[in-house]
Symmetry: C2
Subunit: 144 residues, 2 copies
């Protein structure tokens, strides 16, 4: 079908994702948050009080990234860090009331953005195949 996979799958996927992230960045600008900061806030909201390391795993970030993003979330008073009670190397991370408020706004907002705009005219069947392809690619390169 698509003989040039680098071109028709690799580069085209990369192009599309960049476009989606640009789009989401623009949409989220009114909330003064980036898509990457959103992932961290979302994971934190669902797992309040976990350590920075656990948050990094859940948000799919490496340690330097989670350090930087948490610095930003702290500046914006969306999250705060406390010294861990028993392990003095660690921090426990908490979401603030402002963070909860923003999360409650963004959850439905983003669902609407996906439903009404990004995924418009795409059927559930197509999305199911799309997701299955992603899962297979993940499995294929897993542990590398």
């Amino acid at each position: 079908m698509y003989k040039e996979k680098d071109e028709h799958i690799g580069i085209y996927t990369s192009h599309t994702i960049k476009a989606i992230i640009r789009f989401l960045t623009t949409e989220l600008k009114q909330f003064d948050i980036t898509p990457e900061q959103w992932i961290v806030l979302k994971r934190l909201a669902a797992n309040d009080g976990i350590t920075q390391k656990e948050l990094a795993v859940l948000a799919d970030k490496d340690r330097p990234s989670i350090t930087r993003i948490l610095d930003i979330l702290e500046q914006k008073e969306l999250a705060r860090k406390e010294k861990h009670h028993t392990d003095r190397r660690s921090f426990s991370v908490f979401i603030t009331p402002r963070g909860i408020e923003l999360k409650n706004q963004l959850l439905p907002f983003l669902e609407d953005v996906y439903e009404d705009r990004i995924l418009k005219a795409i059927t559930d069947e197509e999305l199911e195949v799309y997701r299955r392809v992603l899962e297979k690619m993940n499995r294929n390169i897993e542990g590398v």
Copy 2:
């Protein structure tokens, strides 16, 4: 089907692409080139002598990015810039013999990486739907 699109489509796509780029970065390390540098080299090979601006459009890069990536490709002696003959603001960009050699190695190498590894066990039908979903998403957010 997938009710939480942000989660099951947005964040999961983002996770997968990051994994693929990490995988490709590792695979390309032996050739001392990154995936982003590769896109530029590939477009340059197919359009030798075009301006930096045209190259930026073809490689899907903004102008600061193309400046930086070309600097790196010049350092590696894979590309070179010449002052444009008629427009003194512009540069014409050329691929070097070393660049051509690397491109001739990488084109088949990457096809094998996709065919045998990244896209293993994914059918042509699934890939067709996958590509169609990407196209629809692109159209949906186009011009934003």
